[in-house]
C-alpha cells in the first residue's frame, strides 16, 4: 500500500504541484510545438511516459548500488545520459525488428526520447533522493505533466486561433507565449 502511495504521490507532485513544464520549464518547447498538432499528442505522450519511466527505473536501480551511489555528480550525469541513449537504441531495435512499422516512424520516437523533459527526470530523482517507487512515479508524472500541459496550451491555441481581434503583431507565437506564461503563473499557486 505504501508503495502505491509513494508512486501516486510522486507522480501527482511532479505533474501538478511542481509541474515540470510550467514551473520548471522542462520540455516547454516540445509542449508548445505539439499543442499545434493535437492529433499526435496522446501517442507522443505515451512514448514520452515510456521513456521517462524506463530511464527513471534504470537510473534508480543503479542508485541502489553503493559503489554507484558514492560516485561524483558528474559521473551520475554521464551515466544518466548513457542510459537514455541505450534505452533509445534498444527501443528502436525492438521496433524495427518486431514491429510492422515504417523506419520513418523511428524519428518520432527520437523526439520522445531526446528532450529536456525525459532527460531531466533522472537528474531530479537523483537530486531529490527519491526511492525506487518514487522515481517511477516521477517518470509517470512527467508524462502526465506533458499531457496536461499540452492539453491546456492546445485549448488556448484554439481560442487564439478563433479570436479575430488579436492584434496583428501578437498573432501566433507572441500571444501563445503570453498565454503559456499566464498558465505558468496559475501553477505557481501550489508550488
Amino acid at each position: 500500500m505504501k508503495v502505491i502511495f509513494d508512486l501516486l504521490a510522486a507522480s501527482l507532485y511532479v505533474s501538478l504541484v511542481q509541474n515540470l513544464i510550467f514551473n520548471g520549464g522542462y520540455g516547454i518547447s516540445e509542449a508548445v510545438r505539439m499543442s499545434a498538432k493535437p492529433r499526435k499528442l496522446i501517442p507522443l505522450a505515451v512514448f514520452m511516459t515510456y521513456f521517462s519511466v524506463t530511464v527513471s527505473a534504470i537510473c534508480a536501480a543503479l542508485e541502489l548500488l553503493p559503489k554507484f551511489h558514492a560516485k561524483s555528480e558528474f559521473f551520475h550525469i554521464a551515466v544518466f545520459s548513457a542510459v537514455v541513449f541505450a534505452v533509445y537504441i534498444v527501443t528502436m531495435a525492438a521496433v524495427l525488428i518486431y514491429g510492422k512499422i515504417q523506419p520513418k516512424t523511428i524519428r518520432r520516437i527520437s523526439i520522445a526520447a531526446f528532450n529536456t523533459l525525459v532527460m531531466a527526470v533522472p537528474y531530479i530523482n537523483y537530486r531529490s533522493a527519491f526511492t525506487f517507487m518514487q522515481s517511477i512515479g516521477a517518470g509517470l508524472g512527467a508524462g502526465l505533466a506533458f499531457l496536461v500541459a499540452v492539453l491546456l496550451i492546445n485549448e488556448g491555441l484554439k481560442r487564439l486561433d478563433l479570436n479575430t481581434s488579436v492584434p496583428k503583431c501578437f498573432k501566433g507565437t507572441p500571444a501563445l507565449f503570453i498565454y503559456t506564461a499566464l498558465l505558468s503563473l496559475a501553477f505557481m499557486g501550489l508550488k
Binding site: 481560442r159 481581434s165 488579436v166 506564461a181 505557481m188 499557486g189
Partner: protein, 390 residues
Amino acid sequence: MENFDKSQKPKEFSETRKIMLSYICVLSALAFVSVFSYGVRALIIVLISVVTAVICKKICEEISKSDYPHGDLSGLATGLMTALLLPVTVPLYIPFFMSVFAVVICMLPFGTAKNSPFVPAAASFCFAVICFGEKVFSYPLVSVGVLETEKAGTALTSLLYSGTSIKLNPAVVLEILTGQVPSAIGTGFIIMLLGALVFLLIRHPKNALPSVAFLMSSALFAVIFPRIRAGVLTSLTMEMCGGMLLFSAVFFMSYPSVIPSRLLPSVIWGAVSGIVCMAFRHFGNTEESLAFGILIMNATASLFDELPLTRKEKKKIDDSIPYEKTQEQSTVVPEEVLSEIPDLSEKEIIAQQKFENEEISTDDLHTEFHSENEITETKPSFTSGGDGNE
C-alpha cells in the same frame, strides 16, 4: 474584422459593455462603502488603480490599432476590481503595477475584453501575491468602525490557513457580514456582495448561474473537508465569508470572456471551479491561493463546451435550420437534360449500389464517378523559397 465599420457596433460589444456597466455599478457601491470604512487612503488606492487601468487601456488600443470599437468599459471595471482586492495598508505602487499588468499582459495581446482568456484582475492578484508576498496580506485592525492602521489584524483566511477557528455568535456573525473584520478593501462587505450577486442574477442570469454553482460547491467542500475543528457552521461561515471567495464568485465567475458559452456546461464549470479553488485554498502556499485556481479554471472553460448537447439544445438547433420542402417538380426532369446524362458504366452502377447499402463512403463514391479525370491530391511539398514573392 479588418473592414469593420465602427459605426455598426457588434452585438458582443454591446453585451460586454452592458455587463461591465453592471460590474461598475456594484463595484462603485463597494468602493464608496470602503472609502467610508477605511478612509481617504482607500479612495487613493481606488483612484490610482482605475486611472492607471483606463490610461493603459487607451494606450494599448492606440498601439494595437484595433478596428474593434473602443469604450467597452472593461478598463474601468478591471481597475475597480484590482483595487478592491487589496488591503488599505498596501504600498501605493502595488495597485499601479497590478493595473498595468492586468491591461498590458492580460488584455492587450488578446484583443478585446470579450476575448481575454483569463480574468485580468485575478491574474494581476496572482502577480501581486508572488511579487509582493506579505504586503498583499497585511490587513489593519478594524474595531467598531474605527480603522487602526498601526495594529495588524488577522483575517479569516489567515486563521483558516493556520487552523485556528473563531467562536461563532450573533455579534461575530454581524461583524463578519458588515465588514468589521480585517480584510481587503472590497471583499469584506458580505451583505453587499450577496446583494451584488442577486443584482447580477436578475440582470445577467446566464453569467450569474456559474457563480451560484461555484458558491454551492465551495460550501459543500467546506462542509465535507473543513480546515478547522470547530463545527460545520463555523467552518462554513469562515470559508464562505473569508478572503476573496464571495468576491470571486460574483465578479470572476461571471466574467463574460471566460465562462463556457452554453448554459449547462457553464453551471458544471462553476461547480468544478468551486472544488478546484477550495483545493487551492487547502494546498496552496499562501493564505489566499484561490485566484490561482480561478486562472486554471479559466484555461479549462472551453473544454466544458465540448460536453455533449442536451436534448433541449439539439431540438433548438434542429428547429433553427430552415426546412425546405421537397417539390414534386423535382421528379419532373426535362427531356433535354436527361438526354445528355450518359448511362452509368458497370463500375459506377456497382459503386452506387454499394453506397446505397452503406458499404462505401461518399468520398469513395466520388472517386469512382470521377475516375476519368483522375485529379488527385498530392502530399504537401514545401517550396524552397517560401516567403511571398521572394
